[in-house]
């Protein structure tokens, strides 16, 4: 399956821990130090929006954001291209990129709060209505394409998936939940050699 745009989101354990005022300089440092995957361009502040994208680190091929969608803050990582590319390959890239970004956030000494991510739940959204609409059929098809990556992430633990949003107008989104929540360092290591 080829798509132009897809995103992953890992949720924070405690939604109160993140301060957008601290995230803005952090993202600027990531640009300076090329800390995460992708060609990084600028930081966009949308913290004034209700349940919006929060603070975004805009890139050419990958965007990162501390996203407040659904009222549940988390780190979102979105791959984007002008021509469709293989969803499985793209997902592997943003899964790795998101895990690395989450790890850097957890370890950043400039953040005053103890930021921690819950790795046992992931939201996958495919933003390409030409290829994929938000239907149960599409969700099954998408899952068939990406299942292997989540098996690798959770190393054989039971993994459940379901339609994330009922609204047929929404992007096709899957909520993936595992019975375990491995540490970020474990998760990162599971994708280290690809």
């Amino acid at each position: 399956m080829k798509v132009k745009c897809a995103a992953l989101k890992f949720y924070l354990e405690d939604s109160e821990t993140v301060s957008t005022a601290e995230i803005i300089p952090l993202f600027h440092r990531w640009i300076q130090n090329k800390s995460v995957d992708g060609l990084l361009i600028d930081v966009a502040d949308y913290s004034h929006m209700h349940q919006g994208p929060g603070v975004m680190l805009m890139g050419h091929d990958i965007d990162y954001s501390i996203d407040f969608g659904e009222g549940r803050p988390g780190l979102s990582c979105k791959m984007k291209g002008t021509t469709p590319s293989d969803l499985g390959d793209g997902l592997e890239r943003i899964l790795k990129a998101a895990l690395v970004a989450c790890q850097k956030l957890e370890q950043d000494e400039h953040l005053t709060a103890n930021v921690q991510f819950h790795t046992g739940e992931v939201l996958l959204s495919v933003y390409d209505r030409l290829s994929v609409s938000n239907s149960s059929e599409s969700v099954d098809d998408v899952w068939a394409q990406v299942q292997g990556h989540f098996s690798r992430l959770y190393q054989g633990a039971d993994v459940d998936f379901q339609v994330a949003f009922e609204d047929p107008r929404a992007a096709c989104s899957i909520r993936i939940q595992a019975e375990s929540s491995p540490s970020l360092s474990e998760c990162v290591s599971r994708f280290a050699n690809s």
């Binding site: 600027h28 300076q32 361009i41 600028d42 349940q51 919006g52 050419h60 002008t82 030409l130 290829s131």
Partner: protein
Amino acid sequence: MEKSTNWKTILQDDMPDQWANEIDHFEAQIERKRQGAVADKVFAETRLRRGVYGQRYDNGKRHDGTETRDLVFPCGDLTKGPETVWDAPGMQRIKIPFGGLNAVQMDVLADLAEEYSDAVLHVTTRQDLQLHYVHIDDTPDLMRRLAAVGITTQEACGNSVRNVTACVLAGVCQEESFDVTPYSRAMSAFLLGHPDCQDFGRKFKIAFSGCREEACGLVRMHDLGFIAQKRVINGAEQRGFEAYVGGGLGAVPRQAKLMEEWVSEADILPLAQAICRVFARMGEKRVRSRARIKFLVDKLGMDEFQKLVREERSSMPHDSAWTDYLEGVSSGEPGPLKGAGSLNGEPRSESFSQWLMTNVYTQRQSGYGVVTVHLPLGDLSSFQMRGLSDIARKYVGDNVRTTVEQNIVFRWVCESDYPDVFQALDAIGLSDPGAGTVVDITACPGTDTCKLGISASRGLAGQLRTQLAAKNEFLDDAIKNLKIKISGCFNSCGQHHISDLGFYGASRKVGVHSVPHFQVVIGGKWKDNAGSYGLAVGSVPSKTVPKVVDVVTERFVQERQKGEVFQDWVGRVGKKEFRAMLEPFMKVPAYDDDPELYTDWNDPREFSTRDMGVGECAGEIVSLFSMEITKAESEAFEAQLSLDDGDWKQADKRAYQAMLLSARALVRTEFLDLPNDPQSIVDEFHTRFYATERFFDKYAGPKFADYLFARHESSRKDPDRDSAHTLIEESLLFIEATHACENRLTGAATGGVQL
């Protein structure tokens, strides 16, 4: 799995043919630019006229706080304009005539924001919508999806007629003369792509107002503005307008002057056309800072300008489109979805009461109101846009509009539905009160995304909004209704001239460091259709502006006399005293003493103006011939694609069309009113360029012109591959010969056509 095809195929029956063809042309131009066949300036103006705008850092460089670094995009040296990197993200402006939207359009806009942008939609100060961080390769499909729901991006930027704006209360206002909506719609449609509007030196903005006294359509800050009025003529009430011309903000603001006290409804389109023709013919083309129509009006004087326009008007060939639309005016605009009702007397929450007081306007139609959705900084998410479309479907139908205060309104809301609409808005985080009050601050994009931005207008607006909202309930009523508007630079996209307290971005050097500043502008007037323009009285560091606002508003409350409004108080206090109020803030401590002042809002980098680029607001100065011959070249390119697809008939048709477009471009260098039908084009071309031998090539003589005549005279019902191929070759030679002819006539060096 659903079958993946492409948007062009899927939507081909949903798009108006002309719009679909224009988008195909644009896509072909993109491909030709990739191949190096289009000059940077021509392509830049081409994309600008499709609303495809540049964005900060699109020169491929960004100062990251320590040094300026190259953004190494995969496209390499490919550019989409002078010093504009192909892969760099850009802004897509989307025209929304008079701000009118329906639920289907809102859903599509939400989809586009998610798929091509950052899932954020931004309402502008001219009722447009903008998407940021868009790749140019995505724009043709983005445009097709809009076209399929009746929205075009054509002429959203560039040297063209921009979005035609109108009062959001038109049709439901208690004060208006009559509903200006159908007139603004007709004006927008009539001038869209109009041949007389393709050779401007700068942009041209039009607005409609239903009354003179309210802010309404802000007519007096527009290039051309119409204020509705009625007159009794021969015993019958008739509709007409006052026409104002020559207004504009920007670095050199001008208030529009009254040009005609009465223009009947049947005459507004031809009047606008005549003004456009005079502007195209006589407006400045080389010095873009003097190219707006306000400078032409200044130069000529209103009497002379008016005389020229009237002469032009009398010489123009009749166009039935001038009045065709009037038949539909009487049938009216969309009315209510639901029957009228009244708000019952049940006790309501404090938050609802506050919202009701500031965000709901009572319509003149009993039982209905206009609900304003207060969008922070004009932004809403794709999720919120879908929520708003749900509200539209349930409560108001096609009665949604964007506003020049960067909000969205629902018109024809039944009063008894107010609590439910409030709850529905609350569920998507858009029930904030304070619409149109001091917390409802207008700001242009500024340094967030604009290449010209000097200071962070959105950052400051966000800060002020937070500060004022936190103490809103304690604010004096005199302060609550102040207008604050902020621009990131002197160009005034945030409309700082017409606010009570305006700010525009500036930079000041302190030692070796730069400090972001804002000029403080006072004395502007929002009402009376942007009744007066304020002036800057002094600049203060960006980070001190919130304190400045506190000091100024507190003093206003202390000193105001009964009934005195802010503008009058400013006039009474005087600019000298006002400046004295600012002076404590104007002294900037040394960098080591307060480094915070050397950064801007929401940006930890030390402030610098090194990321500023060359703006595209002015468009590129490209001749009418260059723009039109480019269309011919694009058509010839499309013909080749049709040939590759095995569609000989289409290939033949397009090659012929390419020759007609080419001939038309040449004829229109001296005959603007050339009718757009093949016979007229061929006849005029023959008379002006063939019979006079001006088109003849030094070596080939009339040969290339004969290609056009031969194809024009033949019917070619079933062209085969060979004949289509030959005609494409001929069309390419004809286009080259046209270029050569235009070069000869304008004195440019040419080597003739290679045979």
